[in-house]
Amino acid sequence: MIRFENVTKSYKGATPALREVSLEIAKGEFVFLVGSSGSGKTTFLKLMLREEVPDKGRVLVAGRDLGGLSHWRVPYLRRNLGCVFQDFRLLPNKTVAENVAFALEVIGRSRSEIKGQVGQVLELVGLGQKHDRMPDELSGGEQQRVAIARAFVNRPLVLLADEPTGNLDPATSQGIMRLLDRINRTGTTVVMATHDVGIVDAMRRRVVELDHGHLVRDQARGVYGYGGEMNTSTRGIPAVSVGAGLAEAADGEPATGRVAAVRARRGDR
């Protein structure tokens, strides 16, 4: 579904945000993207949205090389990618239903189609009773549910979430994670950048860690963090767990770009 091939991206005058990152994410996966601020998580997401283009390497989404994508096609790419942010980005002057409908209106869907879809997706996120509320009448968790509904109403192949629980308390965050999990179970690939240790540890899903632009860990059923000294020793080594990762490194398994192989071996899902 998503494939990064030796992607390097740097911004003017700064050290590279991503260096030689290779990664494959299969359809239907749930991936946590972790790493400290400035590690390149947001750049990673932006490359998938083609808000940025790589300096070197290729980014493929749904089999299509984004580098070769002409400017006017970008909107059509984005219709396959739903986006959720820490700050919700709801339109304050529109109701809940209007906010969700907006995403379909601006891609030219018919009014009757919009009506049906909006009702369905609001039911899915658990806001079936709040169609006509304004965003400022909702709690943070509810606002994020609206944002998720808006991102998901067009049934995208991939849902990208940039710290979706960053502004929410732990209990509310859990609700949001249950929702993302439910969306993932419909077959939607979910990529979530986060700092939330509790969530990552509780979910036990694939964890990809970035550090100063390097992919330092790719771990199935991973946890948020581990000893700092591991960062360098396991750099670029896909690991099923920290221990197994070290064992694999001993096999001489080449590091990055072999995520598919790791996935194949990962029969524990």
Binding site: L49, Y76, R89, L91, F102, A103, I107, R150, A151, N154
Partner: protein
């Protein structure tokens, strides 16, 4: 694409209303500058009409001294006959000139009574092939041809009129261009503010995959509407000034302005130009704003 008319109309109207002070400034500047453009075009047409009226009887009048000798008269006559630029001429003798002078002075009996046929200069009234020759011929006959009192051509006064109107038009056009540029910048800025005011919405639209044109069109239309509203105001101002001139001419018989009464056709063309310029300004201003500040 799903650019439905009611979506675009709604968005444009909302934008204009939210941003009404900027929009008003832009619209008024467009109106003032286009009024100047329109007025300048009307003035130009009026002057051309005036020149055309004179030009219909392109003429040169060579006045002889009242006491010119028969020989001098004959010399001048043959000189006129040998000038190829003069297509046709008539000679008014003392008696005919006297009659003419009395007609001209009909409103001033004292002066008319003072005239006698003997003291009225006789005149060669010449038709010219082209108005361009007038000044040279006036110079030829006025300077040192024996017996000639003076030579005149109304074409000379036309020349002065032309020059005055040219200067006036240049001033009007320069002011109009300056104002057009500022209205372009004002529209650009109004659209830029509208884009800024809606950056959240624009961001969401980009994220969910609205096409560039879908995002741009309402803003461009906003500029177009500002240009058109300004042009509409200018059309009314130009129309009113034309009506005002017509009224002055009819009410006070201001004959100097009579050629400023333009036929409906000329007026219509002028108004169309005004509207077209308004549209161009609106679309140009908003296109630049959209391209520079709505990076999709």
């Amino acid at each position: 694409m799903g650019l439905s008319i009611d979506y675009v109309a709604k968005e444009t109207a909302t934008n204009l209303w939210r941003n009404r002070m900027m929009a008003l400034a832009a619209i008024l500047t467009v109106a003032v500058s286009l009024s100047l453009v329109g007025t300048s075009l009307l003035l130009r047409q009026a002057v051309n009409r005036q020149i055309g009226q004179f030009g219909q009887n392109v003429s040169l009048e060579v006045f002889m001294n009242a006491n010119a000798s028969t020989q001098q008269l004959a010399d001048v006559r043959s000189m006129i006959e040998q000038t190829p630029q003069i297509t046709h001429f008539t000679y008014l003798n003392h008696q005919q000139s006297y009659q003419q002078a009395k007609q001209i002075l009909a409103g001033n009996p004292v002066a008319a009574d003072a005239l006698t046929p003997a003291i009225v200069p006789t005149v060669f009234r010449c038709q010219l092939a082209s108005p361009a020759d007038a000044a040279a011929l006036v110079a030829t006959f006025a300077n040192g041809v024996p017996g000639v009192y003076r030579a005149t051509s109304p074409l000379q006064s036309i020349h002065v009129l032309e020059q005055v109107s040219n200067v006036l038009q240049i001033i009007l056009i320069v002011v109009a261009i300056l104002l057009l540029v500022s209205s372009l910048v004002l529209i650009l800025n109004a659209i830029r503010m509208a884009i800024f005011a809606r950056r959240l919405e624009v961001g969401v639209m980009k994220l969910v995959g609205a096409t560039n044109w879908f995002i741009r069109v309402p803003f461009m239309l906003e500029g177009l509407v500002q240009g058109l509203l300004g042009a509409a105001a200018a059309v009314v101002i130009v129309l009113l000034s034309n009506i005002g001139v017509n009224y002055l001419v009819r009410r006070y018989h201001v004959s100097v302005l009579s050629s400023a009464v333009l036929p409906a056709h000329d007026l219509l063309m002028t108004e169309l130009v005004v509207v077209a310029v308004g549209v161009v300004i609106g679309v140009a201003g908003s296109s630049v704003a959209v391209r520079r500040f709505l990076d999709v």
